[in-house]
């Protein structure tokens, strides 16, 4: 027998089927908090390339906001490698499971009609004529359509754990962390869960935070897009290499598609003396800059010891190049956001 392409809602019964995609990732149903005057400012630290120092920047910005008296939340949205807490010497605490829909087929109830399989867009239900369908969970998008269209209610929503969120605190900065279970594919569902948690905080405790700093994964994929889409200001972090430049251009394309204001940071700017040439290249492409961070031993030491460079009680050299670079970036950022503290 043949399987027609694009079969939609075949034999769904009398009721009109409402397609509930609440478990699918959808950036368009997020409220536009820009319309709310007293909402926290959301700063997203990102960058196309891996290893440019996104987490280093996000952690130290959060610390500097806290130092200036702002109530600060740092969100780790790099769900495959969440490690902001490590750079702050923190622990993963308050673990919560992230559930993901999977169909549970009740064999006694199933009439083997195949309607669920015919409606499944990713073809995650293996259906042989006159047999109970077999779910292929690795391709299931979690849309619940099978559950909705089954005419005899033989499909029940069931859940599998695809990751976890954690909330903890380090250096008086609140941390919200998402972690994808190794081997699972739907990382955007973890980010979606983090987004819902942020929305809940803003809805129910609008005064809880003044600033929310989002740290993203490298790349320009849907996880990163979701986080940038939520931000007021976007800070792509790059480095003065060909990789760094190419990936910066890619992430800026995404930022422009999402219609966000951005300013870049060049980390390791003194690398092999290419700083001026790289800065000139960015300038010729009209890429606005928030500042640059030179190679600096204090930064390396803070990284290795998991003590944030900008910690107010820290013992790093406050006249050092690294410390001064971060201070300069923070002052530029404060001005950009329009903060007075």
């Amino acid at each position: 027998m043949g399987w027609e392409e694009g079969v939609v809602l075949v034999g769904a019964g009398e009721e009109e089927v409402e397609v509930n995609r609440s478990n699918q990732v959808n950036s368009f149903n997020l409220k536009d908090y820009k319309l709310m005057p007293n909402k926290p400012k959301i700063v997203c630290v990102t960058g196309g390339k891996g290893g440019t120092g996104k987490t280093l920047v996000a952690v130290n910005l959060a610390i500097m906001f806290k130092n200036s008296g702002y109530k600060t939340l740092l969100v780790d949205g790099d769900s495959e490698n969440p490690n902001t807490y490590l750079l702050m010497g923190g622990q993963l605490e308050n673990q919560t499971e992230v559930p993901f829909f999977k169909p549970k087929i009740l064999e006694e109830e199933c009439t083997k009609c195949g309607i669920c399989a015919k409606n499944c867009a990713p073809h995650a239900l293996l259906y042989i004529d006159n047999s109970v369908p077999i779910p292929i969970l690795t391709v299931c998008s979690g849309c619940r359509l099978c559950y909705k269209v089954c005419p005899v209610n033989a499909i029940e929503p069931d859940y599998k754990v695809i990751g976890w969120t954690y909330s903890t605190k380090a250096y008086d900065v609140d941390l919200l962390i998402g972690e994808l279970k190794p081997g699972e594919a739907r990382s955007a569902a973890i980010i979606d869960t983090l987004m819902n948690k942020i929305e809940n905080i803003i809805d129910n405790e609008p005064d809880k935070y003044d600033i929310i700093v989002l740290d993203t994964a490298p790349g320009a994929h849907c996880d990163v897009e979701l986080l940038i889409g939520k931000a007021d200001l976007v800070i792509p972090v790059t480095e003065p290499t060909k990789f760094g430049k190419l990936d910066l251009i890619r992430i800026i394309e995404l930022i422009k598609i999402l219609n966000k204001d951005y300013r870049a940071i060049v980390n390791r700017s003194s690398l092999l003396g290419f700083r001026d040439q790289f800065m000139e290249e960015l300038n010729s492409m009209n890429i606005p800059l928030l500042g640059d961070i030179p190679l600096n031993d204090d930064i390396v030491a803070s990284y290795c010891q998991a003590i944030p460079l900008m910690d107010a009680d820290g013992e790093f050299d406050r006249s050092g190049e690294g410390y001064q670079a971060f201070l300069n970036i923070f002052n530029n950022l404060r001005e950009w956001i329009g903060l007075n503290k």
């Binding site: 399987w3 392409e5 990713p122 073809h123 293996l126 042989i128 077999i134 292929i136 690795t138 391709v139």
Partner: protein, 143 residues
């Protein structure tokens, strides 16, 4: 009686070439074998050849719905392997050569094919690739 499914090029049939891609072949040829003799041939087009995703699962459905007990493949993806195993369909590894369906069935009937149980390529391997075996590409792990 055994029904052997083989991914084929074009319309399918004994004279057509085998297609190395399972989910994205253009047709399936079903060969019925009794007492080591070919007693029937049926061809079925593969509507999943251009599918966005899930082609291996749809192809497994076609194979099972046409009563096949065995399948001979070149490249097999993970979703297809999972589906075929769930349906208890025996999977045999074709040699890495350009052969007709008839030649492939003859090799199988001589008992010269390895049984496999897992994928030998990753997801979406067959997408956007032409038919036929790639020049000198080695085979992945055998089950």
């Amino acid at each position: 009686m055994v029904i052997i499914a083989i991914p084929s090029d074009g319309e399918g049939g004994l004279k057509d070439k085998m297609n190395s891609r399972f989910g994205r072949c253009s047709s399936f040829t079903f060969v019925t074998v009794e007492n080591n003799e070919i007693t029937g041939v049926k061809t079925v087009p593969n509507p999943a050849s251009e599918a966005m995703g899930g082609a291996g699962i749809q192809a497994a459905q076609i194979v099972a719905n046409n009563g096949a007990n065995e399948l001979i493949v070149g490249f097999l993806g993970p979703n297809a392997a999972q589906s075929l195993n769930a349906l208890n369909i025996k999977i045999f590894q074709a040699p890495n050569q350009e052969l007709t369906i008839k030649e492939i069935v003859d090799i199988r009937l001589k008992g010269k094919m390895d049984l496999i149980s897992s994928a030998n390529v990753g997801s979406h391997y067959g997408m956007g690739r032409g038919g036929g075996f790639g020049g000198g590409r080695g085979r992945g792990s055998r089950g």
